[in-house]
């Protein structure tokens, strides 16, 4: 075992795993916090919806599309000045979170918008016919009905964030991706590469399984 993984620094791996998990948790929470309202806004201002505002919708849509079309590795670099201003550093877990959120929130917002579009219009109409206020329609009917879809969106976003954290490693964020690049790739330590990839694979599997379970739990269709 020790001969097989001669180059693997297990405490270092543990440290890197924690860094990846910290980046993932921090950026996922903020991504949902920003992306959920953005997705709801994208949906509600859309054509034929409760608060149809074609211009606002087009503007939001444009911003989302621009952010989504920037390759994440470029976004990481473009964001450095802003990250420095916000977090005081562009390195480590703290430095990774702003670009991760900016990269993932627009993506998640689109998934939320799609989930909301899947809600049966008739159901919303029925709630309107009951004399519900717009706030009651959104919080009491629209979001609960879309919850399985939104949870599935969180799962997809979390998995995307795992691969983003690996890329963030390249510009000094630390974590498993950083290990894989610095030791596995640049120093030809294949054993380190294998260990990091397996750990990332397990992480993705766990996220997907937990996500699927939650979707099943919330889905009563």
């Amino acid at each position: 075992m020790s001969a097989l993984f001669a180059n693997v620094d297990w405490p270092g791996i543990l440290q890197a795993t924690f860094e990846t998990l910290a980046m993932l948790a921090g950026s996922l929470v903020l991504t949902v916090a920003l992306g959920l309202p953005l997705g709801v806004l994208l949906f509600l201002t859309g054509r034929g919806q409760m608060f149809a505002r074609p211009w606002l919708n087009r503007l939001l849509s444009l911003v989302v599309n621009i952010l989504r079309s920037v390759p994440f590795i470029i976004l990481l670099i473009l964001m450095i000045p802003m990250t420095l201003a916000m977090m005081g550093t562009s390195l480590g877990v703290r430095g990774a979170i702003p670009p991760l959120v900016v990269g993932a929130a627009p993506f998640f917002a689109r998934l939320v918008e799609t989930a909301l579009r899947e809600v049966d219009r008739g159901v919303i109409e029925a709630v309107q016919a009951m004399g519900a206020k717009p706030r009651q329609i959104i919080l009491g009917a629209l979001l609960p009905e879309a919850l399985p879809g939104i949870v599935a969106g969180v799962t997809v976003t979390a998995i995307a964030l795992v691969s983003y954290t690996a890329m963030a490693g390249v510009v000094g964020a630390g974590g498993l991706g950083d290990l894989a690049v610095r030791f596995g790739y640049q120093r030809f330590q294949t054993d380190v590469m294998v260990v990091t990839v397996v750990l990332l694979l397990i992480l993705v599997q766990v996220l997907q399984t937990v996500g699927d379970r939650l979707v099943a739990h919330f889905s009563h269709r």
Binding site: D120, V123, A126, A129, M130, G131, P144, L147, H220
Partner: protein, 341 residues
């Protein structure tokens, strides 16, 4: 119950119109509809698909805002209401739908409780008691903890009815409420609606494309064609004396007439319609004996519309005294209408 002239109508639609603007241009779904619906009556609006029925019913609780005309509910001009006033109005108008439109994420009890929670008038224990009462009323007390997906279509519509009744409305709008149900379940749901009308004095406005639904529960009916009311009145009158092609199509009278024999000189084919007491009188054999006319029967039915017996016979008369026989039918209170293939 009929709409007395002195009694103010529960719902009054005046020159109501709705035009949708689509990519291909303007589409007039409702074009100047005026109707008076009395408190406590079951009013049917029937038409073929695309006639504007669904739009018309949505104009009553302003799910669609009219392009022109007025909607008056209990003397109140609905179009002029503030958003808060409109929400209050909607709580007084329950609505059920073809596809039930229940919240899939909520249980049966939570679905029925939802309008009460939105209203915010009752405390939690009172809501619970009211939900139990409503579910008992629609016969679903045992299904409170289930989700809509676990229910049959008929059960889902019962939940929809319980939910629509939660805030104690005076009007219930039914948008093709039985069109997704099998005939037996349809009968049960219609029976429930009739019961609610009798016991709670609920005014029901019912949209459908099925004549049988109207026949079973409605007091009055309006026939809608391309956004216009082409015929309206007591169900028995409209059904038995259908004049407009759309009404006749909905009654499938034209299809029945197509099966009649080819016209022959000296033979007259007529449809005899009679109702009430006449339905039980042996007028046919009496007049045949008296006039010596010969008749052959093509089609006939004897049934009830909202409890009133009626009969309708299609027959060909031949012989010397066809004219006097027809006059005798009319003298006996039978409506005579010549039919051709």
């Amino acid at each position: 119950m009929t709409s007395g002239a002195a009694e103010p109508p529960r719902i009054e639609l005046i020159d109501l119109a709705k035009t949708f603007t689509t990519e291909t241009g303007e589409m007039a779904a409702v074009r100047g509809v005026s109707l008076r619906i009395a408190a406590g009556e079951v009013f049917g609006i029937i038409g073929e698909s695309g006639a504007g029925k669904s739009t018309l019913v949505r104009l009553i609780n302003l799910l669609e805002r009219p392009s022109a005309g007025r909607v008056i509910v209990d003397g109140e001009d609905a179009v002029a209401l503030s958003p808060e006033g409109l929400r209050g109005l909607r709580r007084r108008i329950g609505m059920i739908f073809q596809h039930f439109n229940l919240l899939s994420a909520k249980t049966v009890a939570q679905n029925v409780a939802f309008p009460l929670e939105l209203e915010g008038r009752l405390a939690k224990p009172q809501i619970k008691a009211r939900v139990a009462e409503l579910l008992g009323r629609v016969g679903l007390a045992d299904h409170a903890a289930q989700y809509p997906a676990q229910l049959s279509g008929g059960q889902k519509q019962r939940v929809g009815i319980a939910r629509a009744l939660a805030c104690g409305p005076s009007v219930l709008l039914c948008d093709e409420a039985t069109s997704a149900l099998d005939p037996e379940t349809t009968d049960q749901v219609l029976e429930l609606l009739a019961e609610l009308n009798r016991e709670l004095g609920l005014t029901i406005v019912l949209i459908t494309h099925e004549m049988d639904v109207v026949r079973q529960v409605c007091d009055r009916v309006a026939v809608l064609d391309r956004g216009v009311v082409v015929e309206q009145g007591e169900v028995v009158d409209v059904f038995l004396t259908a004049e407009h092609p759309v009404t006749r199509r909905l009654l499938r009278e034209d299809a029945a007439d197509a099966a009649l024999p080819a016209p022959t000189p000296g033979v007259r084919t007529v449809r005899l319609t009679y109702r009430g007491e006449a339905a039980h009188a042996p007028f046919l054999s009496r007049i045949a004996q008296e006039t010596g006319v010969d008749f052959s029967l093509h089609a006939g039915r004897v049934a009830r519309i909202k409890g009133e017996p009626f009969g309708q016979l299609t027959l060909s008369l031949s012989g010397r005294n066809v004219g006097p026989a027809l006059a005798a039918f009319e003298a006996a209170g039978v409506r005579v209408r010549e039919v051709t293939r």
